[in-house]
Symmetry: C2
Subunit: 206 residues, 2 copies
Amino acid sequence: MKLFGSPLSPFVRKVRAAIHEMGLDSRIAFTAVTMTPVAPDAVLNRANPLGKIPALELDDGSSLYDSPVICEYLDGVHDRPRLLPPAGPARWQALRRQALADGIMDAGVLVRYEIAVRPEALRWDDWIAAQKGKIARALDSLEAEAGALGGGFDIGRIAIACALGYLDFRFAADRWRDRRPALAAWFETAAKRPSISSTAPELAAT
Amino acid sequence: MKLFGSPLSPFVRKVRAAIHEMGLDSRIAFTAVTMTPVAPDAVLNRANPLGKIPALELDDGSSLYDSPVICEYLDGVHDRPRLLPPAGPARWQALRRQALADGIMDAGVLVRYEIAVRPEALRWDDWIAAQKGKIARALDSLEAEAGALGGGFDIGRIAIACALGYLDFRFAADRWRDRRPALAAWFETAAKRPSISSTAPELAAT
């Protein structure tokens, strides 16, 4: 299988961390793609018409996207403990947390497009503030449930760790740890897991 | 249960169409929310810290999001044929199609924010063109697989129908049917299903 992505994308990091947890590294080739919405990549577009990363090309030539679909697919092809609980409250909890963390990533990426891709004269401060407001509320919500995060490592926790790592990478000046000590303490431990530490965007950016 | 949403949102329409197909209408109260990223709604934010619709409040007071998670959750609480195939190629096909259709919706909503929410002086034509490019490529991809859409109705087909309906509602001038006759023919039939026809945004907008 072939994974299209950038090591700087938090969504790609989530999939790569999941692959590491699943022990599937040797079965999936990473294909680096550099693109933005306004500078698409033709090869990626053949794997995912939306031009988004990650996209997973299967051995039969077909492709899967987006990142939650890729993670669920891969979770069915390894023999370690499942990262997506099969059913019941644990599954909805994990999928809701993944959606919350993905929402932090989405908002963060939109801010990046606004401040690093869009021409300076066309930037809108209210948009940036609104997206950062989404991130702040999501972080407050995670702080409130941080005490429940200490158990096993599943797709929800992986997504949260990758979202927090993205904030450290792109928005360190916003100091998300301030007033969120429980979440910060959880992340300090989670960031040391090999699946998380080995996929840090800082490793690729330096 | 309580579903937060706007009848104009294609993601909300997807969930409402799924609820109709599942026969769950009587168990879920619809709570209308009007918001944009820069004009959030405090009640919605309590159900979903990201401030996005749809959000589903369960009977125990907890909430689920985003729309794929809500659809999968609800698919486990009814006794009609499943909208998400349980496993295997049919499941990945349905989830990939849902992601493709959701990507059309995402791009369309971003264009709407650009042309209807952002101050006129700050609009960026390249951004609009890029998002419309994503939509066009996704539509071309759906045209190529339209011959395979004729079978049953699942979450992938529901999502595609809602994405196409959103294009008709917001971007009729772009004439997506031109050069996509197979997809147009499929949609002409799909749009007549009660779950799709009864949730059309035009019904709420007039």
